[in-house]
């Protein structure tokens, strides 16, 4: 195991009493609790962590946070729990952690894909676009090689065993960002007793203060880190304040609806993860006010080979020094255009790192900085810029050139610290359509608050000096809670005000703008030359900012490069649209608990237990689990189906019909209401009688059907299809409330109040007679399409003599809690009559034998009652919903698709549902006109032949004609058009 040669003697917020071991790229390393993978690898002198996406160039660590573009690793080798594209800069180290480099083969050090780098001129901007638009075979030819060579991490291949949760919260003030500004804002808001949620992305509160010495500044007279501990304790003691760490604001949607992604357990070794806790949580917060304290992101500098491992942002280097006790090099060049990076130079020097040069593009840096550098003996190159990094695989030096064209200078170094200035991190704000404006002094976009939707604290507000930053924070926090600020912290720092000059322009070579997607300045210039002059177009053409980092560090440099190419200003070019999520969120967190059985709740009937015991095969109808068939031991699905259907017509069978939608319709205008919503007439239906009805939309197309029973003159029991129940109720309510508020009608869903067992078959009257206490079951005395109330073993029942099979039937409704009891009673009493439970498949087959439609199977939203041959169910006497549409020229066409029966010439051939019907016996070589399609098809055990229903153009006038049903890879099947009722003259019919 290597020694941590780059670890400082002391300092850092790491626990040196808690050494950890971890593996990277097959080797074991040591680190400490409190490290990230990046800080621990840097401490061990490992600087190359990855190979780049396109050119396979070695890449190191650029940043110290979630904006990291290139230090991406694969965590864990388990195919179920491995996570790709994890930012090593965010990954908290734990004992036993194993991480792998990505996009390299056979190894990080010896990667054959690097040949792409030599071939770079053949992989220009728009490579994919040009390949797609080129000769058609090019993409086919290149795809395999491209997919193998380009890419990032590997997705897990096994189901995720971890648990994820959603949390919904309301609060008055949501503060995003737990740096000093966020803490101050939260404290001000919390003074009012408001509910405050503060979300901090990392594992520790403090933000930028943790990237400085513990006493680099004093706040309210206390050294920075001591002040942090105190304000954290103060907030934790407030009952209405929720402090969330490892929680990132990922999306800001309409009306301050904000999503926060919390990594609950990811920082712990798998064995130490509390099984009671979810791995990650997605918080969905509705806030009255949002304070953005999201800090700022540092901008890299553009020069040749600026992607070499060893090139690091100045703020990040300071964070590694102070937060993790790591000096990421021995000899550094610091290149900047601003005051802030000088602090990194001074801190590096204090940590014992040799400063080869401080290179500032400004001719006259601040006098105090120059004096300090002189006092420390640090060489300064003012009015100069780094134009190239040297080193074949990692940084070995820098080329410094004077802005006035003076001489060039090669300086040896193993660390090249860069800073192009800071830009407020406004991604979330921009997502919520917040306005931003270019600030020439800041050389960055700053927020233009529009109204009260967003408030800004700290550097996110564009305030880069700590005193101003915390003043903005106190104001933002207080105003978010509707008060004036009370406690504005007093700050003492080095007194150097933040100032910068425009970033120096690159001087040629391989200059990387987007390090994750390998986009160079040359690519952007090529895109502009080829006409992609809008930043949105150039982005897509070059893939600038389209990686998992969404261009956090590259966006501004990309805009600047395009602006320079087009000879425009940065604000003229503008920025691309920001979209959620701010950083990658796992699918697990997005799905939450809604996976597996909880993906979609299942409804089961009161009789479900009996179906499970009987070994039923279930299917999903709407949200309901319904028995499809009940196969017996050794019986196939088809055998079971045929047996059940024979029983229904030869002895006695029972169906669980509880799932049918049931709506109680009550009120003095109930009858008039039914007359308006059904296509047929309802004014004369007497109490005790039932009637079948069709429902259409205003376009005249059938969308549901069912039987409604008249309980009393002002009281009806409506049934709907199982899947259509909710939609029908909503549709009825809509008409009642919006079109006919004068009708006095109440609608109540009673689907779940009644359990329904439907018995049918020639023996069913005997079984019914045996069951009923006080109802005469004789089909003559209790005729078809009537209903009555009575008792079974003193339990109240409502029985409907209605039939979906064509057989004598009794639909027995009982209060749902008696459902299972009723089912078992029917099975026990029915055994001697050969009672057979049948499922939905049998029901479908039996009704098809009778030619009864299933709305949604034989109809598809383009079928009118007339198309169904159901003129008998359309009244002439009054208007109903959809009536006028039946007389539109299109709905009156004689060649509309009309429902007919089909009998295949070979009675054994069962057609495929959905199969296309053609007029000719063979398909033409070109396009064969389709005249319809098969909607239902079965082998009928009771007729001993195949039967089918089909919608065929002008079908009602073609009875007896032969049509042909196309098949894939076989000759069309001839079939004769018949009536839909295959059992005509057999049993009851409505």
């Amino acid at each position: 195991m290597s020694v941590q040669a780059y670890r400082l003697e002391d300092g850092g917020r790491i626990d040196r009493t808690a050494p950890l071991t971890f593996r990277f790229d097959g080797r074991a390393y040591a680190g400490y609790r409190g490290d990230t993978l990046a800080s621990a690898l840097l401490a061990n002198g490992v600087r190359t962590l990855a190979r780049s996406f396109k050119y396979h160039r070695p890449r190191g660590v650029l940043t110290a946070g979630s904006e990291e573009p290139v230090a991406l690793v694969q965590v864990g080798g388990d195919p179920a729990t491995t996570v790709p594209n994890v930012r090593a800069t965010e990954l908290e180290l734990y004992d036993g952690l194993e991480a792998f480099p990505q996009n390299c083969w056979p190894s990080l050090g010896r990667d054959v894909g690097v040949v792409n780098d030599a071939l770079a001129r053949f992989l220009p901007a728009g490579f994919y676009y040009k390949t797609f638009m080129g000769p058609p075979l090019n993409w086919m030819r290149f795809e395999g090689a491209i997919r193998a060579a380009a890419g990032m991490g590997r997705s897990p291949t096994a189901p995720d065993p971890d648990r994820y949760e959603h949390v919904n919260r309301h609060c008055e003030v949501l503060v995003i960002g737990g740096g000093a500004a966020g803490l101050v804002a939260a404290r001000e808001a919390a003074r009012t007793g408001a509910r405050v949620i503060l979300a901090e992305e990392t594992g520790a509160l403090g933000g930028g203060l943790l990237a400085g010495a513990p006493d680099a500044v004093t706040i309210d007279g206390r050294p920075a880190w001591a002040w942090l501990a105190e304000i954290e304790a103060e907030l934790r003691a407030m009952p209405e304040v929720t402090l969330l760490t490892r929680t990132t604001g990922t999306g800001w949607y309409d009306r301050n609806w904000v999503t926060l992604a919390e990594a609950v357990l990811d920082h712990l070794p798998p064995a130490a993860r509390d099984p009671r806790l979810p791995r990650q949580r997605l918080w969905r917060v509705r806030a009255k006010a949002v304070v953005l304290a999201t800090g700022a992101i540092e901008r890299p500098l553009l020069f040749h080979a600026n992607d070499r491992p060893g090139v690091m942002l100045a703020g990040a280097v300071r964070a590694y020094l102070h937060r993790w006790g790591v000096a990421p090099g021995r000899r550094a060049v610091v290149a900047t255009n601003n005051t802030d990076a000088w602090r990194t130079a001074f801190d590096l020097a204090a940590a014992g790192v040799e400063i080869a040069a401080i290179v500032d593009s400004r001719a006259r840096p601040d006098e105090r900085l120059l004096a300090r550098a002189q006092a420390l003996g640090l060489p300064v190159r003012a009015g100069s810029a780094v134009v190239a990094a040297k080193g074949r695989s990692e940084v070995r030096g820098a080329v410094i050139a004077r802005a006035d064209g003076g001489g060039r200078e090669d300086v040896a170094c193993d660390l090249l610290v860069v800073s192009g200035g800071w830009a407020p991190n406004l991604a979330l704000y921009a997502q919520s359509k917040g306005a931003i404006a270019w600030d020439d002094d800041l050389q960055a976009f700053r927020p233009q608050p529009n109204g009260a939707a967003a408030r800004f604290a700290g550097r996110a507000a564009g305030a880069f000096d700590l005193a101003a930053s915390l003043r903005a924070a106190a104001v933002a926090g207080a105003e978010a809670a509707g008060i004036a600020p009370e406690h504005v912290p007093e700050v003492a720092d080095d007194g150097v005000a933040y100032a910068l000059a425009p970033a120096p322009k690159p001087q040629g070579g391989r200059v990387f703008v987007d390090l994750q997607n390998d986009v160079t300045t040359k690519d952007i210039r090529l895109a502009a030359a080829e006409g992609y002059r809008s930043i949105e177009h150039a982005k897509r053409y070059t893939t600038l900012g389209m990686g998992t980092d969404q261009g956090k560090t590259s966006g501004l440099n990309g805009v600047a490069t395009l602006a320079d190419t087009l000879d425009k200003t940065i604000p003229e070019v503008g920025v691309t649209t920001f979209r959620p999520p701010y950083k990658p969120v796992s699918f697990g967190a997005v799905a939450g608990r809604q996976v597996g059985e909880l993906f979609h709740p299942r409804r089961t009937t009161a009789m479900h237990e009996a179906h499970v015991e009987a070994g039923a095969v279930f299917e999903l109808v709407g949200d309901w689990l319904r028995p499809r068939v009940y196969p017996q031991a050794g019986e196939s699905f088809d055998d079971a189906l045929q047996r059940e259907c024979r029983a229904a017509r030869s002895s006695c069978a029972v169906l669980d019909a509880s799932t049918l939608g049931k709506i109680d319709v009550k009120g003095p205008d109930a009858r008039e209401f039914l007359n308006r919503v059904y296509t047929n007439a309802w004014m004369k239906l007497a109490p005790g009688r039932c009637r079948y009805g069709l429902m259409c939309n205003e376009d005249g197309m059938v969308f549901d059907d069912g039987v409604t029973a008249c309980l009393a003159d002002d009281h009806f029991h409506m049934t709907t299809t199982t899947g259509g129940a909710a939609g029908v109720l909503a549709w009825l309510e809509e008409y009642l409330q919006t079109e006919w508020p004068e009708l006095k009608v109440y609608l109540t869903s009673v689907t779940e109040q009644w359990a329904v067992a439907s018995i049918c078959g020639p023996e069913s009257p005997k079984l019914a007679a045996e069951l009923f206490d006080d109802i005469d079951a004789d089909p003559q005395a209790f005729p078809f399409m009537s209903h009555t109330s009575g008792h079974i073993a003193d339990v109240p029942v409502r029985v409907f003599r209605i039939s979906f099979t064509g057989e004598v039937s009794y639909e027995i409704n009982v209060p749902a809690r008696y459902g299972l009891w009723l089912w078992r009673l029917i099975e026990a009493r029915g055994a001697k009559y050969g009672l057979t439970p049948y499922g939905t498949e049998g029901m479908h087959l039996l009704r098809a034998e009778k030619g009864f439609i299933i709305a949604g199977q034989d109809t598809d939203g383009t079928v009118t009652p007339l198309d169904l041959g159901m003129r008998w169910a359309v009244k002439n006497s009054a208007d109903f919903i959809g009536r006028r549409s039946l007389f539109r020229s299109d709905t009156a066409r004689p060649d509309r698709r009309q429902l007919v029966g089909l009998a295949t010439a070979d009675p054994a051939t069962v057609l495929t549902e959905g199969a296309q019907v053609i007029a000719e016996p063979a398909e033409r070589s070109g396009r064969t006109p389709m005249i319809g399609h098969v909607t239902s098809s079965y082998f009928s055990p009771n007729l001993g032949r195949s039967i089918a229903l089909a919608l065929i153009a002008g079908g009602h006038g073609k009875t007896g004609a032969t049509v042909h049903v196309a098949r894939r890879g076989a000759a069309p099947v001839p079939a004769e058009i018949t009536a839909t009722d295959f059992l005509a003259g057999f049993g009851e019919r409505p």
């Binding site: 949607y253 309409d254 009306r255 609806w257 509705r286 205003e698 376009d699 909503a730 309510e733 809509e734 409330q737 919006t738 079109e739 508020p741 208007d879 009536r883 006028r884 549409s885 007389f887 539109r888 020229s889």
Partner: protein
């Protein structure tokens, strides 16, 4: 996710509501007297306004009541809600100047 101001329940998440499209389209009382074009206009045609739009919502997962709303389709701001059968309220001058009221009720 929008917050929809239900006149009965107050502001609630959009996910509790069902959107009902353009408001103030009354079902003809004698459809049989309409020409095919007139009937097709009622059944199929809707305006697609940018600006203040009168539309219907139903608080499906709440009070189950339908209501009307004036919403600026450009900003998604709800400017007013009112009950079914009521006329749209007159808006203050500022909103009116920004986006003229929909022709359906102007």
């Amino acid at each position: 996710m929008l917050l929809v101001p239900c006149p009965n329940c107050g502001e609630r998440d959009q996910s509790e509501f069902h959107y009902g499209g353009e408001a103030h389209r009354t079902r003809p009382t004698a459809p049989e007297t309409l020409s095919d074009d007139e009937w097709a206009d009622y059944v199929f045609m809707r305006t697609n306004t940018k600006g203040v739009f009168a539309e219907r919502w139903c608080h499906t997962a709440g009070c189950r009541k339908w209501f009307n709303a004036l919403r600026d389709t450009g900003s998604d701001a709800f400017l007013a809600v009112y009950r079914m059968g009521e006329e749209p309220p007159r808006l203050g001058g500022e909103e009116k100047e920004e986006a003229p009221a929909d022709e359906a009720f102007a």
